[in-house]
Amino acid sequence: MTRTRAPRELRTIGLIGSLAFAFPGLYLIWRNFTSGADPLSLLFDSRTLEPFWRTVRLAVLVSVSAAALGTALAWCTTRTDLPFRRLWRVLLPIPLVFPTFIGAAAFIRTLNPGGLANDVLGAIGINETPELRGLFGAWLVLTLFCYPYVYLPVAARLRQLPGSFEQSALILGDTAPQAFRRVVLRQISGSLTAGTLLVFLYTISDFGAVQLMRYDTLTRAIESNYLARPPMAFALSLILLIFAGLVVLAERAVNRRLPEVTSRRISQPVIYTLGRWKAAATLLVSGTLLFGVLAPSAALIDWAADGLLRTQRGGRPLTINFSKVIEAATNTLSSSVLTGLVALLAVTPIAFLVGRYRDRTGRVAHSIVIATFAVPGILIALSLRFWTLKSGFFGDLLYNSMALLIFAYVVRFGSLAIGTALVAVRTVPDGLHDAASTLGADRWRRFRSVDLPVMRPGLLAAAGLVILSTMKELPISLIIAPIGFPTLTTRIFGSFEDAFVAEAGIMAVVLVCASALLSWFLVLRRADHL
């Protein structure tokens, strides 16, 4: 196995990419200096520490449960004879698309006392539903909305994993669980830790779900200090970012000890017969969808239906019409798909630097990209505004442009793609590469004919994560989008803010359907790897 130095062009691209991702962090440091913030003293203040520890507690719990749930779902839908696997595969990524400010509200609307579930259960004599709130409520809703961060990359990896190892283990007398632990878990561990890290970082940056569940974390403290005490908000954000950086470094330390992954395109994955476990597996998958997709969707559909019925009865007309919804949906789809592609272009070079060449620049870039995921979206938006205004002519050119919007989205969500892209790079067998090299294929040819085909499922999963997340993004869409570029999420926000629940419901249903459509495309595209 030969390890060559990274090509200079690749390192340059990686360096530029990491600089772009460093904008929000540099902005925060700058703001801390210029606003006279004192993050150090806050660190030892109990009023900071309490929300901080609540944030950590929630993030750990959500990470563990989302990792377990995501892996279980990925295994059931890729490696077993579970009925309706295709359907589940289309539906399981959907929770990713709920903007938490309305997704969590809809979840509460369905499940909390007096909600829709209450009405249904009342018919069979159950009149009490528990009030979801606090740590439990936040944990539940975030687990359900975040498991796709683990599910998508792990499922992509499982689908590619050669069956021969497992077969050997089984032949040598391992039971299926033993084979899973010794072989499968080792082979998916890279995807699993990368996905879990995203869950952790998303949880510490989330504001919508924790505030509606009334669990007081660091993001709430940041949010209510923006106008009243800006230095405090900047200092707390910096603490959040530094903490995220430490977690990223810790994950890398763990990841370095994980076994090398391998892949052989030709081999068939092992498909297990569930037998008497079929009912349990079906229950797990359908239960996840019941709470993760149907519960929030029920409230959204209820709101939407109320509004449509109301207009039929001659009540207050809706403030949106068909063309407005189509306009917003088109903007949402075009900007998010574009973001998915650009994000791949931005992070794949870094993934190559780290995965193929073990390049130090690449490793630093990789950490920066991932840690940025913990920065609240509004700060990313403000930081990009700051940097474009500071950069003179170039900034004027970008101001109010689509390019800047896509750039901001990529900075926000590139982290989602990089872990999966890195695993994809590592799945390319070195031997294959060396053989192609010996046969005289140049670098570009090797990339196209060797790397790309092996990496494709992983890269598609990476793009899928970015696209579904971009579709729900709010603060950047409001602050950075060119004037006159409404997305579904910005229109949902505007309606929901003023309790126009029918309008918000209709557009949220459209958002969910659009995401299902995209998810279906992704699943179809990968069909040749099944």
Partner: protein, 344 residues
């Protein structure tokens, strides 16, 4: 959103319909070549017809960035003198006070300022109120009989209401309200009231909308909110929604009117069109629209409030000099944080 009336020589005339046409039934005038850019913390659903009518009536081309008032104020602060915004519309006075403290607000023409009462505009001429929302006690009609309802926020600290009152502790309009509370009664009394509410197991919710929704379901008995959300919920869900507004006494701090505010940015290069827009917000058709269609309180042009709204003789937030408050919003934020309401 962009509305562009016909440019010079253009053949296309701006067409408006629906609510916008009700506000301005006249045919649209030709494009004047003037333009104005608005950052609006008031949402599209409520304001778009007004802005369309303005573009139609004046020929000014209107561009809008929609968002939350807080975030847009942060954006304007970040953009400073180079902001694209000529006008900032805010849901509540807090974000406007923030921009004023940063020296980013310009001075509105006297002719526009005089359209609205002195109590609803800034003494420095930097902002005007253009509609109002009243603080009320929203309550679930099945859980709390009308006759039992209190008359003052000070009653809510009684044992009778233990664990039954929702407070949007960190929400913008509550923070503004609490700042006025401090101004009227002194910081000690206000802070004591909030601490007593916490001791009485008042329950924290993040915003007005979530309180009104939870009250409608019966998750909580009552809550301190702006009057306006319950009208929207009732308009959307009818009788299924089991919450109604209750007015506290007219002279109680719990009946405060909180204004929505409009400002012109100091850096605006279109201040003439910006002032025209502010004046338009205070005309009779627009004020009628606000009270009849969006259930808010009119502040100008002699328009009477929608008869469906509770009567109004209460304090108005505009009469408060924020600068005179020791520590202003910063101190308010500190008191709220210290009360621990966010953990209730």
């Amino acid at each position: 959103m962009t509305f562009v009336a016909a440019a010079c020589g253009g053949s296309e005339q701006l067409q408006i319909d629906g609510l916008a046409a009700e506000i301005n039934p006249e045919e649209c005038v030709d494009g004047s070549g003037k333009e104005v850019t608005i950052y609006s913390g008031r949402t599209e659903n409520l304001i778009e017809p007004v802005l369309e009518a303005f573009a139609c009536a004046t020929g000014v081309s209107v561009q809008v960035r929609w968002g939350s008032s807080t975030q847009l104020a942060l954006l304007i602060d970040e953009e400073g003198k180079r902001t694209a915004a000529d006008v900032f519309l805010s849901r509540s006075p807090g974000p406007v006070g923030f921009l004023e403290s940063k020296g980013l607000l310009g001075t509105i023409d006297d002719s526009v300022l005089n359209l609205v009462g002195e109590e609803n505009r800034s003494a420095e001429g930097s902002w005007i109120g253009f509609s109002g929302r009243k603080r009320v006690l929203v309550h679930n009609v099945d859980m709390v009989p009308e006759a039992d309802l209190p008359t003052s926020v000070f009653d809510l600290t009684a044992d009778k209401w233990r664990g039954k009152v929702a407070i949007p502790g960190t929400n913008g309009s509550f923070v503004d309200w609490f700042t006025v509370f401090r101004d009227q009664y002194g910081t000690d009394v206000a802070a004591q009231w909030l601490n007593d509410m916490v001791d009485n197991d008042a329950r924290y919710y993040p915003n007005n909308r979530s309180i009104v929704e939870a009250t409608g379901r019966g998750e909580i008995e009552m809550g301190l909110v702006n009057h306006y959300y319950n009208y929207q919920e009732v308009a959307a869900s009818g009788d299924e929604h089991r919450a109604r507004n209750h007015d506290l006494d007219d002279d109680d701090i719990g009946s405060l009117l909180i204004i929505t505010a409009a400002t012109v940015l100091d850096s605006s290069k279109n201040s003439e069109a910006a002032n025209d827009l502010l004046a338009f917000l205070l005309t009779e058709p627009v004020q009628s629209y606000f009270t009849n269609k969006t259930f808010e309180y009119p502040l100008a042009a002699g328009v009477d409030p929608n008869p469906a709204l509770p009567t109004l003789t209460a304090l108005e937030i505009g009469s408060v000099d924020f600068d005179a408050l020791g520590g202003g919003f910063e101190e308010t934020a500190r008191i709220i944080e210290l009360s621990g309401i966010q953990n209730q």
